[in-house]
Symmetry: C2
Subunit: 317 residues, 2 copies
């Protein structure tokens, strides 16, 4: 598996990590991250969301909530042929028809459509739109631990017939145990996999299983693996890039630039007060299969009454 040519690593540090700091990364940080990804051999760097500027006020966020093509070109420029850029477009939270231009006019190669299952009809339209504009397209099914099997089968059947290139398992709640990942991989392989689509894994680390679930999915045939530096991402964060690349032992990837970026730039973000990663509060929302928002609020408020928090989380189950 370790030398599988079809494997692709996607770095959503700016996008999922942006949920931690409202996308307020400095241009220097973004350029350093780009250089680290290029040196490490990372296949795709996700620069951020392409959120609607009518729904979200640009004054309230850093630039990577919107990831304008102009901003990308100003900070990164046209990307080196060795790496591709992606953006994430949230179903129902973007103006995809106007804000996503034809690929020929954009430095972006891959549009990742993030969706909840109940948004599949708009999602299928967004996939068609992005494909027609010339992009590679993935569909990232969020909160996968909270969907019903039958509903998921229907969505995967629709995606199998769509022009989408890749379909992701997104464990937004960090609730999946390895057995759940296996079951989902089986369902994805039988549907979108059988239709020739790639399968992707985007894990969260609430239960310290992001890395384990990612390599399990890879072993079962997922070719698209998300990993971020020092695991930066919403709440408990994602699969750490330094663990994934160390594991792969694939000559295509280099560990040193990853370790250096994690040890220097990410450490500097932490030292400046940006907080992410596993904690008891995130563990509890993961165990109880809930959105991390309660744990995010607990953390931001500096609460330490974990016993009361356990009561709050368990009473919502």
């Amino acid at each position: 598996m370790n030398y599988r040519e079809s494997l692709r690593i996607v770095d959503p540090t700016l996008r999922d990590g942006g949920l931690v700091n409202d996308f307020r990364f400095t241009d220097d940080f973004v350029r350093a991250l780009y250089r680290a990804n290029l040196a490490a051999g990372v296949d795709y760097m996700e620069v951020g969301y392409r959120a609607s500027k009518t729904m979200f006020n640009p004054a309230d966020f850093g630039p990577w909530k919107f990831s304008d093509d102009e901003k990308i070109l100003q900070v990164i420029g046209e990307p080196d042929p060795a790496i591709k850029l992606s953006i994430m477009a949230d179903a129902g939270r973007c103006d995809y028809e106007t804000d996503i231009r034809p690929k020929s006019e954009s430095p972006v190669s891959l549009v990742r459509v993030a969706t909840y299952l109940h948004q599949m009809s708009i999602t299928l339209k967004m996939i068609d739109d992005a494909k027609a504009k010339g992009y590679e397209v993935s569909c990232n099914i969020m909160a996968i631990s909270a969907v019903q099997d039958a509903e998921l089968r229907d969505a995967l059947a629709a995606l199998a017939k769509s022009p989408v290139d890749t379909v992701y398992i997104v464990d937004s709640f960090g609730a999946l145990y390895p057995d759940d990942t296996k079951r989902l991989m089986d369902a994805y392989r039988d549907t979108v996999g059988a239709a020739g689509k790639g399968i992707g894994m985007h894990a969260h680390n609430n239960q310290q299983l992001a890395f384990a679930n990612t390599i399990l999915a890879a072993e079962m045939g997922a070719d698209w693996l998300d990993a971020t530096y020092d695991g930066m991402g919403r709440g408990a964060g994602n699969c750490p890039m330094e663990l994934l690349i160390g594991f792969l032992r694939n000559p295509k990837y280099s560990l040193r630039p990853v370790i250096e970026f994690a040890g220097e730039e990410m450490e500097a973000l932490r030292a400046a007060g940006t907080v992410w990663g596993p904690s008891l509060a995130y563990l509890l929302t993961g165990q109880f299969n809930q959105h991390p928002r309660a744990a995010i609020a607990y953390t931001k408020q500096g609460r330490t009454d974990i016993s009361a928090f356990l009561g709050e989380v368990s009473s919502q189950s």
Copy 2:
């Protein structure tokens, strides 16, 4: 699996965590830990090592390096019938003949003999000695990621013929990937398992796989699972109790006392400056399958030159 009657959770917080703070836990902490374990339904609490007082100076360590029966009785008393106590005896670092009394004179139920593979002859003597004295006995094979298959098969064959009750996989380096755990579980099942011995898992968290490896081993038939509060243990620490008990959803175990102890007592230890848990330095010794001592030194010295450390670790491989 979750309701398997034969499952046993062992809490070595004092013993493996003692390697972090030289076993300097207060009596109050030990009593609170005991009460938490009792309330949580934990099956065994490991109070510490039974180290040689001729080889180690008691003035240099807290009491749980030696775990005298008198000290146990003074702090905990005779344990409640719902929980058993264990000690660890390191092959070559204890005076087992004199320091381990007959079980009838001790509050301890289980003697865990920790060994490297090259110490198997003394280890087999220690197992015979402890069994003859009336204890339950396990053999904990350390640094399992660094042993040769043939040598391991010989040791497991000898243990299968010995009177030992349980044989542990001990991932001292935190180097095992899930596939390694599978391979080892197969080897253990074919030998000591086939001979009717229990199989145990003691994981370290260098690569954030302690929990994943522990539940994988359990799924494959390991009945003895080590877990510590907030994962406290040498270097990157162990499988966190709060993850394991949350996962098991077994009515025999209770999550609340675990969450409360982790959130209060363990948090207080951290706030007082005791340091353990995953970090880039521990990740590197784990990835390169090395003893964590270099990462422990790096951490204690407050070094931040991770790039130089990567050079040091990789040049030793």
